[in-house]
Amino acid sequence: MTEKPGQELLTVEIARPRPYRWSTGKYLGRLYKEAMENKRLVTNRCPKCKELLWPPQAVCGRCKVEAGEDWVAMSDKGTVIQYTYLVFPLWDPHYGEKLANPHPTATIKLDGGVYMVHFLEEKDPQKLKEGMRVQAVWKEKQEERGRGLGDILYFRTIEE
């Protein structure tokens, strides 16, 4: 049940990133376009349950009906429902490095009604609380946008 001491055991290390060209498809593409061009969040609404789908997509999974083209623009303000923060850095498989982002991750209920996971600007755990009001901080330059939710840097605490 234990490994025999003394025998040299070899390993082979392979670091070969796999490149992909992922498509947003038509529905998520609409969100990308609005974010890029107008710093605006949009999604589509299910014709049956009337709920906003998030991310926007062709089918409402819950109702099992085609979602169609009932597009809705949403506020980029919202309320923090939950948050957590990483104490140890994790390996980010899409960057191929330790995740250095120091920002806490939060589930935010946008005023339009959908729940979105994103970063918070506020890094001090003492100042984080559920129910705090936040607003998206967008990348300013249009040429840096075009990455969907990645066009938002993080959410900033706001006073109302």
Partner: protein
Amino acid sequence: MANRVAIVGVGQTYHRSTRRDVNQQEMVGEAVRAALADAQLSAKDIEAVFTSNMETFEGIYLPDHLMVDEVAAFGKPGLKVCTGGTSGASVVAEGFHFVAAGLFDLALVIGFEKQDTGDTTAAITASVTPVWGKGVATGAIGEFAKQALTYMQRSGAKEEHACMVRLKADRGACRNPYAHLRLGLKSVEEIMKSGYLVWPLRLLDFCPQSCGACALVFASEEKARKMTNKPVWIADLITVHQEPFRAGSFGDPTGLETYTQEVAAEKLYKRNGITNPRRDICMAEIYEPSNWEEMSLYEHFHFCEKNEGWKLVEKGITEIEGEFPVNPSGGVIATNPIGATPTIRVAEAALQIRGDAGEHQVTRDVHTAVATALGGPNWTVMTLLKRSL
């Protein structure tokens, strides 16, 4: 009338954080040989081999093809399923379907994971493509942290209760020679001192990364009755998947969602005449990646009323000697080779029914047991096992 299916052989490797003495194929082969020995069968007797695993965890595409020779699949039918965290139970379901269908009389079902190979958290993070949420994913750990928060707020459970679950798991693991983490934990305070991994989850609250494999031999009724006087029958099983929750993967802070566990449990209990799960089922092996999740799962599986999962822990009801033992093996918090984890739940439940669990055999006589799996964005597979049909 479809065939009945019994588990007639159970095998697992010991579980460790690294296994440099074997390659992946050889490690899985250890479990296969153990299961064949337990069933008193030779490799030639096996008609088909079904496997499960998550490819990105070890960076091996078609891993079942790589290990054909070592798992007795050469020249035989078989296939691999992959459904995320539930994989090791989805393969139990598919193995069951193929034998119940009358297509095979003896089949091997295998779950495995060799986590000393890659970075599991990174691989789980890759379940979100950058197209949707680049960089905002924190693997399963962040999701279970949020689940813990939801549970705390909803149920009134305290960190102390999570620590009690951890102590229970360790007591089981210390009596299970195959378990990975056998720490000899003594007190709630000791656990409270361990550092945060992802707030509010502590290092000791969360499952480890393990290398290991588990194999089961399934037999048709006719074969099973000839082979053994201790068949364990797969009385029923159910899979419930769904698209991700609106907010979070494993906890629902919105109150809008239906938990797959509840749907699965309600259907499974109804189909099998189970009206009082804690009475009609004798014990459970559940997939609890964190101690917080375990308390919440008690409620979703209707082992107790809403918001009372922590009370079961406080009263010791789910201890090995308790009225309704849960995870006497030490569970997932002690041992987590992910692709094998749900298969181990089934294996451990089968051993309890046979009375072959050794030092971690529960006090209560076990004629019926349930094994569960959790994965994806809150997906569930439940397997109901019985000593007699």
